[in-house]
Symmetry: C2
Subunit: 132 residues, 2 copies
DNA sequence: TTCCTTGCAAATCGTTTGCATAATG
DNA sequence: CATTATGCAAACGATTTGCAAGGAA
């Protein structure tokens, strides 16, 4: 259980993440944080994102596009991914926690939770499709 | 819309996949199909798995372990992933299709579907944990 | 003969890691 | 001082791709 020391880089990364609601990737975090600290390395960004996710201070999102996204909002909520523009958007919806019980009903083993995300076309992509 | 020609390799890959219910990865498909055709290449396996998934003859599964799994069963059903042994298992459960409507209720855009998988410990891993 | 498919190897891409140095407690 | 964190670059693992040769329609 390593004894976590404070680091300016980690702080910057977490702070940047808290200003964004669009679930940036490691690379986007890197490009942005680099504007305040031009010598920060991509490795450091990855290391800290992984560390923060491991201790539960941020969430790592996998939405099928092959790149991890990160979210400073660790409260339970679901995401939508636009298949047109790739945007990852928070959804406000009623709880669907009950699906975990449904899944466990006929299952020999223990179900701890589920991963779910929704996909389709976001508002602006839907509108531009209608024009064409 | 390329005019798809018959290929022995593609046939072997699909046939192998149909014999398995454990959702093998590309590498496992490769190792197995190679026993019947030792000169088949990994690239060919990847190309055909991607092609078959694109035309809907098989399904590509992403369950968060960083490796794609493939499933010859394209009927709608859900999967469970064991966090201990990595097994990917079919679940028999009631439909949860309704969550797509729930998600769309307050959403500006069009939700086409969702991706969901469950995780926890499978039957045998649950039992061996109890022993220790 | 057209053009889809293969085998092979090299290339990509996101992410991780080893190492020497710097920063923290 | 003991240890954790950093920057850099090299290494990784899964997957994709360019290319010349082979096979199907």
């Amino acid at each position: 259980m390593a004894a976590l020391k404070h680091s300016r880089q980690r702080e910057m990364i977490k702070e940047f993440l808290m200003t964004r609601k669009d679930h940036p990737t490691a690379d986007i975090v890197y490009m942005n944080v680099r504007q305040q600290n031009p010598t920060i390395s991509l490795g450091t960004v990855y290391r800290n994102l992984t560390l923060l996710a491991d201790i539960g201070e941020i969430a790592r999102l996998r939405v099928g596009d092959g790149v991890d996204h990160f979210d400073a909002d660790t409260s339970p909520h679901y995401h939508f991914v636009c298949t047109e523009c790739g945007a990852v958007i928070d959804l406000e919806m009623d709880s669907i926690e009950s699906i975990t019980e449904l899944a466990g009903a006929n299952f020999d083993g223990h179900i701890a939770g589920h991963v779910t995300y929704f996909y389709g076309t976001c508002g602006s992509c839907t509108r531009s499709q209608k024009l064409s």
